[in-house]
Symmetry: C2
Amino acid sequence: MSNRPESSAADGEGRRQFLTASSAMAAGLFGSSLVSTAQAGARTMPDTAPKCLFFDVNETLLDLTAMKKTVAAALGGREDLLPLWFTTMLQYSLVATVGDHYEDFGVIGAAALQMVAANNGIELSERDAQEAIAPIRSLPPHPDVRPALEKLKAAGYRMVTITNSSQKGVDTQIRNAGLEDLFEQRLSVEPLQIYKPHSRVYHWGARKLGLQNSECLLVAAHGWDVAGAMWAGWRTAFLSRPGAQLYPRANRPEIVEPDLLAAADKLIALKK
Amino acid sequence: MSNRPESSAADGEGRRQFLTASSAMAAGLFGSSLVSTAQAGARTMPDTAPKCLFFDVNETLLDLTAMKKTVAAALGGREDLLPLWFTTMLQYSLVATVGDHYEDFGVIGAAALQMVAANNGIELSERDAQEAIAPIRSLPPHPDVRPALEKLKAAGYRMVTITNSSQKGVDTQIRNAGLEDLFEQRLSVEPLQIYKPHSRVYHWGARKLGLQNSECLLVAAHGWDVAGAMWAGWRTAFLSRPGAQLYPRANRPEIVEPDLLAAADKLIALKK
């Protein structure tokens, strides 16, 4: 293995990190935290196929455009505020997690929308905020999703979803997207009352399927989701959909592709 | 107590919440999560003074303007992206918390800045991102802070800081802000390796001072910080500085004022 290009790249990256960390420590700026293996470069790609593919839902499988339109309208047409709203929703889903006050993702999303609106001088009632995000329940899949999932299923992959949406929410979403026939389970974080990327969500998902963490692979279009999954011992594939960014402090997923068709080709190659 | 105006207001609010929750459940949209006491309105103001005041540091005590200028410059002058960067930093501080991969707040802030830059077509190296946020170590206090802290100290309050900055970071910040004489301890989340608003941070803070949670009061300019503190059993005062918003799904703090001088008057009144 030592002469594979991935290994060499990882070694070079490790050395660079060490030098960067030494400089920062000498400057006394950041303490020991930069001496981390978090960025140690691309993992060596395993040769074996994972035993199950776990798919994130929102943005990864489903196209959020319809919801973005109604949310932007609620913000007085301010499309530029959409990333701030989405990030605020994710922040507060974790605020609720670490504060042990879980609520439905839609409730948190509406509250986040009210906060972003208020900070920009826009009045928005709780009801109007909830209505603005209601289209999340009837989003279409991205065009690459169904053909890619069909190929993966034909190749023999077990496939499930794993989402921050409520159980009722994901059941509705997958039915409305016409993808019900493709997944053997639809996992929601709701029974755990904590949100991804809490490591317990991934560990629980593996146990639900009767698998070891190392036998699971998450497909997601969110840097935080693949980071958390890798930290929990899972393998990952990242879809670099528009606006998606990997977290620079986590390892690089073994698969990084612009859409699910390209990722599916890599995954199917592992079956051979 | 039952005929105090605060109690009546809380009862009315509770009833409104019940009706709202019932309607939503009938519609079958959000399951049981709206049946929450989270929004049950303003708490009844205790008549007793808290035994210790815990102050958040960044934005609550210190003026972030100088750092915002260097961060905006790193983003090619895009001041409009500052709220997204700050929220992304907070989101990833919690991603690191729930993924059990704590790193220094400055390291996470720089990584978040690189992500926001990349999503907006701006190239930014790790080193340049770290330099852009370096002014966080030498921020001045808001003009209301020293006079208010002096009044609170004269009134007999024990005072400490409690921050997501590293221990070395907060030591440097408080020294550079000239506030060293006012706090008996400077608490950082660093020894816990988790970030606020994790409930364990507040519980640990209370124990460090030898107090019960109900004897502690957090002063902060962040909705997530006062929400987490209240969920952990603390009392709270919120400073509604520009850009600060309360989280609509948490109780209202017992004190909500635009700056620390106004909040100090309310806190000193409790001592009498």
